[in-house]
Symmetry: C2
Subunit: 361 residues, 2 copies
């Protein structure tokens, strides 16, 4: 095979993004590794999808997901032509790279952050600059702007740290940036504020949202991007013609029209987040205060390695995320906030692992 002659060098040389493990349905694992919602979507969403499941599936969906854009406009107080809908927010991130970044152009983001941005940049032939977070995890505004990036990613709340920088830093970054700023708000429903109010003053700002976390629809693949209408018109050129299917559009409209139905779950996750933070601190973990639906937990001193913990927790039936490729995160676990029962099971497993370690040492 002459694959090396056919495939673009950038792609041959890359390893590809590794998503968190998705065990086959029905396996009795507590899944705290990909920040899904522990509760399913409300009945109104299930009913809307079921109603759309029929002979009309023979027809293409509305190309621009107009019903979803209109529902988002109602829900968030924007105009439908400020909204672009994606097959998950990953689709919107891919569109963003394709829209703004040519070969050799620079993409920048604080480090550490969502690990998809770097491979997306490589795919597009761009050059990715990871700029360390400032003191106390402040946004490194000047250093990011100094990269000359066509595109700067800022995740707020950030993954995997969970912290949310002040909105004033987002605004400062928009002013300083030589190109566009993508504010990734995948986790923002777990935070005390959000950035949609910044759009009016910053034409180079794009804000993305996900239905996969707070809205409990990771399996449906829907994401939203908010921006100036002039930019949205360009996004539609790089969007696949029918990128969001009929059932996803139906479910997304129902979710947006029923946002209050998600509030109890979101409130419970925030309560559990604060309880787990305390419980793990009591056991020697160092926790970054989180505004998201997960914690970044540095393991207790002299308790082995992060990889040891991942293995031991897995043996106890619990999956957590570990970013082994990043030395700065080698001793940290990213733990999704689940149900109270799942959190209790986690704490019990942690106690057993710690007891076993002290017995062996």
């Amino acid at each position: 095979m002459e694959i090396h002659r056919w495939v673009r060098r950038e792609i041959l040389e890359m390893a590809g993004y590794q998503p968190g493990e998705q065990p086959a349905d029905g396996r009795p694992l507590i899944k705290l590794n990909t920040n899904e919602n522990p509760s399913g979507p409300p009945a109104a969403v299930i009913e809307a999808i079921t109603a759309a499941t029929g002979a009309a599936l023979r027809l293409y969906p509305e190309p621009s997901s107009r019903p979803v854009r209109e529902a988002a406009a109602r829900a968030y107080g924007v105009e439908p032509d400020q909204v672009v809908v994606g097959n998950g927010s990953d689709d919107l991130l891919t569109m963003t790279l394709r829209l703004f970044v040519g070969p050799g152009e620079v993409v920048a983001a604080p480090d550490p952050t969502y690990t998809l941005y770097a491979p997306l940049t490589s795919l597009q032939g761009g050059s990715y600059r990871a700029v360390p977070w400032g003191e106390r995890l402040a946004t490194p505004v000047d250093a990011l702007a100094a990269t000359g990036a066509k595109l700067i990613f800022l995740t707020r709340p950030n993954a995997p740290t969970g912290h949310a920088v002040p909105l004033a830093e987002v605004a400062a970054l928009c002013r300083a940036a030589p190109g566009v700023v993508l504010l990734d708000e995948a986790y923002v429903d777990f935070c005390h504020d959000h950035g949609l109010g910044l759009l009016a003053d910053h034409p180079n700002l794009i804000i993305t949202r996900s239905f996969s976390k707070s809205l409990a629809l990771a399996g449906l693949r829907v994401g939203l991007a908010f921006m100036a209408p002039e930019l949205a018109r360009e996004y539609h050129k790089v969007r696949d013609s029918y990128n969001v299917n009929r059932l996803s559009q139906a479910g997304a409209v129902a979710a947006l029209d029923n946002l209050p139905a998600f509030a109890p779950t979101i409130a419970r996750i925030r309560t559990e987040r604060d309880r787990l933070t305390q419980a793990l601190r009591n056991r020697g973990f160092t926790i970054t205060p989180s505004q998201a639906n997960f914690l970044l937990a540095a393991i207790p001193p002299a308790s082995g390695t992060g990889a040891d913990w991942v293995r031991d927790l897995r043996q106890a039936g619990i999956l957590v995320r570990h970013f082994g490729a990043d030395p700065a995160l080698a001793d940290a676990l990213r733990i999704t906030i689940g149900t109270p029962e799942e959190m209790q099971a986690l704490v019990t497993a942690v106690d057993a692992i710690l007891a076993n370690k002290s017995r062996l040492s």
Copy 2:
């Protein structure tokens, strides 16, 4: 706004692909413009999707659509690692461009063909070469190979002509091509043969299929690509991590496990296709013999323009596709084969339009 400084020039300068019109659900139009199936999917597909519509939607789908790849392997006698699943075959076409085509590199296809290939090439910064079909619509093998293309598209049956070149010409093209050949089999279930048997001998061949035509699932967005496992591994690097949602995977598996349930609809479409070919020829249209679920119908001499016909048919409640941007197709209509009742309504409308024209002339 400084959009011109932010957005890549290739995209600013392009118009974007225009898909066929999708009227809002419930409008009483006979939709013969985007080659959908006039029948809905069988009950087994609806039931499988309904069964997957529940709390599990909170979880991400299997990233590589493994259940669909396994079902495709069962259905088509290939290995699961020869299959890549897309969010519609458009998603697979986009991946193909990103995988093989760098800035300035050449993509070629016979002309006319599917109008998406050219804008996808522009998006990727490639250079698109439209090579006219040979005599009697033969594959222009040597002329395509002489372009030096990294990627050659061959649609079989072709859109909008409907003709299917001999498989021997596909094989000859694979041998002559300096890069890879994508054989787009979106319409192949309406044809008398297919190209999967060519894969073993041609490592540079990629074959795509769609669930949007014969399998009556345009609204679900699923496509398949078949190729050598070594190539499939590279596709997975450019694939969005979770590109096919849970409901689409469930519906696709059920469709592949129930292919015989689609046979009656496919047989009826072929029968109607041959009847409509004859009926329109009797009325002065020139029809390319079609192996697809549509006809390319050149309007009768001195009967106005293609645009006139589109407008008159629309007034009669019938949507057909017109490729006004291509002078060679200005007097041709692409007409999807629908139900017997829809075809009768079309012929009645044609008769009324012709009668009106002869009255006015």
